[in-house]
Symmetry: C2
């Protein structure tokens, strides 16, 4: 079954609005074993949309459109689809009553423009919208189907789950299974090389390598869970400690889980990364079980006042030094009574207040300190300011993760 998504709205083309709807839909489809073949964004221009509708209906079996169901002049998704099949729009009595009700609950009457939202192409079925005034459309044409949903993600998602998914048949191959592995500290090209022979052995699986600034992911899909399990076993052997997590989660989850398992805790002192490690960790529910807090030691004064750094040591070694970074990790660990202290210093770009001019852009020092063990590492990180900050935070999380594993 060939499936495509169409996101309608000029804002998706000309501005910084991203179409996240079709991304979410793709994931739901994948769980049914259904693949998305393409997604397209098109502006609020009738001609462009009409052309796209015609070609989409020719090539695809299921077409999912989001957007263009509102009351304003530039909403005409239903009109264009009706034109494509040469049918009229007709009012649905139940939807009209719902619309009047919706406004009545808010002690208003519907503005005239909103009544166009209760018109539907002849032969199609309305999809109710419990969260807004824009109903959707389910429209079958022989073995093919067209689904029209509102562009507001919250409304679209609820309607998808309650009204669209029950109408879809899972792939005859059965539901698709996914194996996701997050790898820390290994560049994409190295991972490609190291997994080459395993990929060759398991070439019948669907393989993707996703490289981001902060981690690399390996995604395998197959209708056969045993085939995935076999590949997983080989990958686990090959990757060893480089494998940060399997399934849901990212580097920060791996760190929090390892700390929780060991009943240990963490405190951070971040200079160059400006709080990124702390904010990545605290974005995870339950982080407070093991994350005590941290300091963003963005000035010499903050290093002394918050992480208990010794002024003489700072004077002697400078900020971007192994001695200072280790002292920051030890200082914040002690201040917050944590099992582990983690510190990051470095030069991420212009006018960073840590003697950055004596160091190359991207120079970075990481330190992790525990009661009995510590590690200090120096790196040169490529990229621009934000790249360097993001990578330094990720590498710090990965260093800590490896130390927790090594601690057994």
């Amino acid at each position: 079954m060939r499936i495509e998504c169409i996101a309608i709205g000029s804002e998706l083309l000309t501005t910084r609005r991203l179409d996240t709807n079709s991304v979410w839909i793709a994931e739901r489809l994948a769980d049914l074993g259904l693949g998305l073949h393409r997604k397209t964004a098109v502006g609020d221009h009738r001609g462009d949309l009409a052309e796209l509708c015609e070609e989409a209906f020719r090539r695809s079996d299921l077409i999912i459109c989001t957007g263009g169901l509102g009351p304003t002049f530039d909403d005409f998704t239903k009109e264009v689809w009706a034109d494509t099949f040469g049918v009229e729009l007709k009012e649905d009595a139940k939807c009209r009553a719902d619309l009047v009700d919706w406004y009545a609950q808010r002690k208003r009457v519907p503005p005239p423009a909103n009544f166009k939202q209760v018109l539907f192409p002849e032969g199609s079925l309305p999809l109710l919208n419990p969260l807004g005034t824009a109903p959707g459309v389910w429209w079958e044409h022989g073995a093919k189907a067209i689904v029209l949903l509102p562009g507001v993600p919250r409304e679209m998602k609820r309607m998808w789950v309650e009204q669209v998914e029950p109408r879809l048949k899972p792939s005859s191959g059965g539901a698709m299974h996914t194996l996701r592995m997050v790898i820390g500290g290994v560049p994409e090209s190295t991972l490609d090389q190291r997994t080459e022979s395993i990929r060759a052995t398991h070439a019948h699986l669907d393989w993707t390598i996703l490289a981001g600034l902060t981690q690399v992911e390996l995604i395998l899909r197959s209708p056969d869970p045993l085939a995935l399990a076999a590949a997983r076993a080989e990958l686990e052997t090959e990757l060893g400690d480089d494998l940060a997590c399997v399934g849901i989660g990212d580097l920060e989850n791996a760190v929090l889980d390892a700390l929780r398992f060991r009943k240990e805790s963490l405190a951070t002192a971040e200079s160059m990364s400006g709080g990124l490690v702390a904010s990545r960790l605290t974005a995870i529910p339950g982080a407070s079980d093991v994350f005590k807090g941290g300091a963003v030691v963005y000035s010499a004064g903050a290093k002394l006042a918050l992480a208990g750094l010794d002024a003489d040591l700072l004077q002697e070694h400078g900020t971007i030094s192994e001695a200072t970074t280790l002292a920051l990790a030890r200082g914040i660990r002690e201040k917050l009574g944590a099992t582990w202290g983690l510190a990051i210093t470095g030069n991420a770009g212009p006018s960073l207040d840590e003697g950055g001019k004596d160091h190359a852009l991207g120079d970075c020092i990481l330190a992790v300190a525990g009661a009995e063990r510590h590690e200090v590492r120096s790196f040169s990180i490529p990229g621009d300011r934000v790249d360097i900050q993001l990578r330094s935070a990720a590498w710090a999380l990965d260093l800590l993760r490896r130390m927790l594993i090594a601690a057994g």
Copy 2:
């Protein structure tokens, strides 16, 4: 001129990766007065890509592809385009030398797979990639052109600016001018209402309202800079202090600029937001001029140790209280010797270590303290955990911004 973008990569059809490249390209095109007609994302499947290339070349004059130029098995954008026109791929000697050089500088030799990156369709021109190993392609066919760029945004953007834009002709309507305004603390619907009559007066401009989790933007475009200036004057009057910045920049830039102008400084104590304010500020080059640092006070212990909170006060009022939040702002201000202290407490979700169970999800308290003035505000923030964290950080920045403006 009909223009389309094609983003290539299976990850773009999953939730793992959003195609931000074509959004950025759309902005750059708009500045040249050129409109994007559609954008499509397609997976790493040769058949799907081949079909799309053929139809795109039929309907569009300029086709911009990103992705699929890497060294791995699932990179074949150049191969598919060469097949579309029935030509061979040929090695480019300069690009080969560049590749060997690139690795030599890193004291390595190129892996064999990378040599496929220096092959180009016959008749096309290589676009050099100063930041990576994947050169791009510029390929003219009569009045039409095909541009192939790497999917890595940093590499793509630099190549676009330096090598693609100089080859594009601005629209005959002349270059497009853009006016961007960032508005803090005003919901999209309110902004829509407040600007309605100005939009009516200046209906010939191209208007967009972009609502994000952390700010609302108003984007106006026109080939006529005087028309933009006239609308700007009216908007500035209407928006007053709600207008955070005009042109480049976001809320955090407005805050840093206001501090710098006043020769003042800031320290933060973040509980619920876990370091987001600090990381947003430090993502901006030069933040260290005015940002002294901060504490991520994610536990009671951290509040006492890092922000000098009094244990009795905490005991008496609890964490999510106006008294405690103000004390945190004052405490961190004093610890770091900053002009202003900013603190955030609240409940962003499960098991947050601040007595969150006595408070509704989304309850949030912000405090800003200076030598002579302070403000404390309580909010109820909608959304899920990450929404609440992001919004609390944005609202805190906006509160500080307004206090700096009010201070004159």
